[in-house]
Symmetry: C2
Subunit: 549 residues, 2 copies
Amino acid sequence: MIDFQTHPDRYRHWRITFDGPVATLTLNVAEDGGLFPGYELKLNSYDLGVDIELYDATQRLRFEHPEVGAVILTSARDRVFCAGANIRALAAASHPFKVNFCRFTNETRIAIEDASRNSGQTWLTAINGSCAGGGYEMALATEHLLMADDGSTAVSLPEIPLLAVLPGTGGLTRLVDKRHVRRDLADAFCTTEEGVRGVRAVEWRLVDEVVPRTKLPATARERAHRFAESSSRPRDARGIVLGPLARRIEPDGIVYPNLKIAIDRQAGAAYVTIYGPDAPAPSSLAEIHAQGDRFWPLAVARELDDAICHLRFNEETIGTWVFRAEGDARAVAGHDQTLLEHRKDWLVNEIILYLKRTLTRLEVTSRSLFALIEPGSCFAGTLLELALAADRSWMLAGRREGDETPPATIMLTEANFGLYPMLNGLTRLGTRFFGADAHLEQLRARIGDRFEAEAARELGLATFAPDDLDWRDEVRIAIEERVAFSPDALTGMEASLRFAGPETMETKIFARLAAWQNWIFQRPNAAGEAGALKTYGTGKRAEFDRRRA
Amino acid sequence: MIDFQTHPDRYRHWRITFDGPVATLTLNVAEDGGLFPGYELKLNSYDLGVDIELYDATQRLRFEHPEVGAVILTSARDRVFCAGANIRALAAASHPFKVNFCRFTNETRIAIEDASRNSGQTWLTAINGSCAGGGYEMALATEHLLMADDGSTAVSLPEIPLLAVLPGTGGLTRLVDKRHVRRDLADAFCTTEEGVRGVRAVEWRLVDEVVPRTKLPATARERAHRFAESSSRPRDARGIVLGPLARRIEPDGIVYPNLKIAIDRQAGAAYVTIYGPDAPAPSSLAEIHAQGDRFWPLAVARELDDAICHLRFNEETIGTWVFRAEGDARAVAGHDQTLLEHRKDWLVNEIILYLKRTLTRLEVTSRSLFALIEPGSCFAGTLLELALAADRSWMLAGRREGDETPPATIMLTEANFGLYPMLNGLTRLGTRFFGADAHLEQLRARIGDRFEAEAARELGLATFAPDDLDWRDEVRIAIEERVAFSPDALTGMEASLRFAGPETMETKIFARLAAWQNWIFQRPNAAGEAGALKTYGTGKRAEFDRRRA
């Protein structure tokens, strides 16, 4: 089992140090610290384990260090910054693992950009040695790239000439869309194994500045302190502690305090139940801070985040995730109200951003997402986003026979209208009703109303509204039907239907770029016995089918 | 050899009829008329040959029929509109053929939308029987869908449940982005083999109206005449004739009047030379009409269009296309001036749109595109777009030793600033200098200037500017290097780097959707021995690897 929970005390590959408002994350990969046996993590190359630590660091810097306004990414090695993803690990991995590995690293890069843009924690990179492939892509996720001008340090994306695959972590997209590298220069760069160094790297916009090697650390610190000065984060606040998740892993599920997973292996489905808050929302900001990682919205975000990563990697054949929510809708709405009221507070801002990132993680997951809205459920506001993220939802009309629980209702809150934008920049409602602005306005006027099944269906907020007589069969058939379809076709369909409307750098990375990479990962030219991933390092030349597709 | 040239007299699958300003295209696929042996085109299913005729029809309706303001797409069969792409043909095809087939059909669908939006020729569909898969996707490319309400006629996208592949011609994207079908309903629709009929199809926005079967033809005609009434096309103009292309196919190339292809099989490269006009531009609109298909911009568009299709399908292993332009830049600029001056004329508008479509066809081609700008070349305005579409360009600085030809120059014309938008909606210059608006403004101020190599390089209009001493080696090495890379990796890279900036429905179809489809086409679940494409129709169930990637 791959565990996504870690702590700086247990890091094997990263060191975090602090200098007032500037944190430095130093990469020093333990060669023998690979997540799986069979390869050595040479030259600061990484595997998923290295990235799990990086992800943990981004989270702790946000929540535990409100005083940090800038983060320097650098390497502890003398002549190497980072060689990118470890090729032997990649070549040995299964296709689903490769794809999910790239997905997770992409999410961590986007979380870094989210910190720079929305948390007042600006990341920069001090490239103090060879910076290749995924190493350069990590740097591209930061806002300012400094590089040693020592005649040898270079940035490069050698994947295409060396490995016959694409840079897998957004590099191509960030070159042209984020850094505005001219497309013909980007073409030349991506096909030049040795990369580009010195002044030319600045001219081509590949890095922001080059400085003499001896001056690199001091210059990076100086830039970082300048970024930190303009940060909105409070210097004198106290962070909260992200304590260990109380998690019980069972053969067919996981139990967290606020979330439970039950796996039906026959149906290829995981039932994910989220429990609403068992107490009213805190009445003051101080109380939120005092609750810390027990504050319900944050606790749910952490548990859901962990659950998504767990199911993706450790339950590859479970293709359908069925969401339920149990509890008091008013308590959920009350928590939304509290988040909205205090959103200018650094911690509340972080919690909102974390929920946003977790919901987007759900949507780029290659699983069918269903929601079941039943009597006793609490799909309101923030939790309603789960139903809106789902590929389909069923809402039970009326009561269950012999059950006094009142009929299920759903409720919109202000949180549904902008707190958690999707990766395409729109709200989930905005994407759902793309091109129907008037309907969106009508929905906004009905914030706080409780809709029963038929009303929810008519408003387009639930897909189907069967009554108790039809419920069981209709839901069962839909789940069984899903398991009969090709998992690949479903993945391609879901990635297409979930994102109507505009595209952003992020959606380009997860759909356009990742889809090309998936294709290439599957092609004999890369992954076949004579393909470049297999022949790399053997001295043999890869054999290519030269037909262009 | 697959020939993309045809004529209504030779059509085997379509019939065009005229009723004043309304044309009707009736599909009646000849079962024994497949492009290749081994399958029958039953139930109005299509292969590439059927689509080549459809493409020819779209072109002739534009150029030969200025009086036509609306086009009805329908079927000659009693209970079937179109069953989509022929599965046996698809299953038997090589991966590169599959991908290029989808690419071409996508381009034809987009050409139909271009006619509706920009040519005053609005397409609509009268669905008079089962309309499945690619058949429905063809209908989705039209602006108004009428369906017979007869209890059996349905629209469907059964690819995912039946074949484990995606609808391959933009269907998923058009559902949510063009027709604004709600994503959860789209999910239900795309996983329902039998599709949706009657009123529900209207409620789900899958079609625009349903009418009793007996009233379908008359209603379609009525709607078409109404569309035609608001068309900008002249009722009393005379069309021009698109005569047969004068084309000589040789073992290693093709010679057209204005374009020559020479293939270097060793280098995997096709050298495409375009000849500038050999006479000044016509001085009047009447003269343009009199020249008809000999008018240089139209002649070049037709030849380039044919050349692209030919090279894609008939020369699959030629991975690099190297563009040259020979002639007088001033004559090219003069023709640009003429196009701009008369752009409100229906014919000139059609020529501009055709050049636009042909340039976009070039950019979604999975080949490396290089441009060589040498003394004697005429990369000005419209032809400069070829160099701007290229992945890299080389411009020779100064003269060639022992050659009195003056140094190469390039020239911007007004045509470079909006006449030929890319599929992303930006100009090629706007995409190239995405995020650098001030530079774009500077370039606009220099329309008509002639830039030599170094100036062009500094302005970012040429990638490299070697002198005669370095030219031969530098260009040779770049071409040789390209042939050593994985064709798949290059395709993925080029598709990513060519389209900085915004995305449109069209770029989503060619990159996001097509990349997922390519991946799925390569996955064992679809294409393997036990995959759904292979087991279809055998009575056997496909076996799926259930791991989600």
